[in-house]
Symmetry: C2
């Protein structure tokens, strides 16, 4: 039996993407009063748990994510540590802590991890019926300081996609340029001119056209592409651009 | 009397710069055996301490930094959390923990902060005789996992200077273009062509030439410049460059 460290947790902000936009993986948290059956808490949280004794942070994040998604080897990166005294001390969180028997401390430090996944790989099933994809721009009521943690993760994601081709982690293996444009527009909160965007992609040697087109679509089927990390690693040029 | 949290600390990597290169602020740590007088530990550490009960992470980092430097309002940014089980469990660190009476846990999670300061503002004095600037590319023996923490901070610094004009935090208020070029070369580990570098600076509206030149130098006195954050904030353009 693993023993938790009462004042250290990890929280994973798992981003996904589909045709309706950027999503975050949330769990529905419900707490009923054992005596009256009254619903005391009904909100959502990101995926997180306390670190176990003898466990390091990365392992704790991987474990937490695996327990919810069943996936390993997905993009996972630490982005920020949260340690405000208030984060588990609202009336709601005090109530939550008083009803669960984990022995959680009243000052919990949480290390935030950012995860990117092809959203089609995670489908709510019976075992995880409380897990769902929610739109980043229309979040439900959240527990703890998870609103702040998601906002900080989004800020980091916006920075990272400008520096590295991590956006591809959010697309299916084979994607169309339209999907790619929608993804970047959606993350960066902007819109690109279609022709300029395609010109830019043309310069990315690591976005490779396939001899394969969309199937079963009403419009003219678009060509499919893959991202090659191998080609990226071997062609990237470190830009020494310190002008912005 | 403030009570420490036994398993949470902050560590500040304070970078400075002078004509001989990029420096990091280190403290000499000495431990003598109380019985024999034998020197058990003689190494260096970055500036850090445990978080106090009821204190948040940023406040702990500011306090730690103030206690060593006497400075407030300097550039300070959280960059990574370290939580490996081994970090305080080498023979040396076990010895250190056994002789101090802080009640430190055997699994300490430390949140790393990156700080940038004009090195002339911190001068070792009698009160802080154990504090000194050491060259980043020639570090002495370090305690804990501080070598890893400094390496990670340097990686973050290299990324940040390409995105924001934070390098100026490391320069005196008035600086020459030669100093600026040396700073960027030294952080990025590269060398720039002098003319191209000056051309680039010419495009930065926030690097402003003064009607003032160097004094008391053997060579032709160089013009001095200042960095204006106000001009930077009002002229910056968000580059949506996701091509690298």
């Amino acid at each position: 039996m693993n023993k938790i460290i009462p004042n250290i947790s990890v929280d994973c902000v798992v981003f996904g993407f589909d045709s309706s936009g950027l999503k975050v993986l949330l769990r529905n948290r419900k707490l009923e009063c054992p005596e009256t059956g009254q619903l005391l808490i009904n909100d959502h949280t990101i995926t997180g748990f306390h670190v176990y004794e003898g466990e390091d942070l990365d392992s704790a994040a991987q474990r937490t994510l695996f327990n919810i998604t069943g996936l390993t080897g997905i993009y996972l990166e630490q982005f920020y540590a949260f340690g405000s005294v208030e984060r588990v001390n609202s009336e709601k969180e005090k109530c939550w802590r008083s009803y669960n028997n984990l022995g959680i401390s009243d000052h919990v430090f949480s290390v935030g991890y950012l995860s990117l996944v092809d959203s089609t790989k995670i489908k709510p099933d019976q075992e995880h019926a409380d897990v769902s994809w929610m739109p980043v721009d229309n979040l439900p009521e959240l527990g703890f300081d998870h609103k702040e943690i998601i906002a900080k993760a989004l800020e980091r994601l916006r920075l990272k996609v400008r520096l590295e081709p991590i956006g591809f982690e959010l697309l299916p293996e084979k994607f169309t340029l339209r999907e790619m444009q929608e993804l970047y527009e959606c993350i960066l909160g902007t819109s690109f001119d279609r022709r300029n965007f395609r010109k830019k992609i043309g310069q990315m040697k690591y976005v490779i056209p396939l001899n394969e087109k969309q199937k079963g679509v009403a419009h003219k089927p678009a060509q499919k592409y893959i991202f090659s990390r191998d080609v990226y690693e071997r062609t990237k040029i470190e830009k020494l651009d310190f002008s912005i």
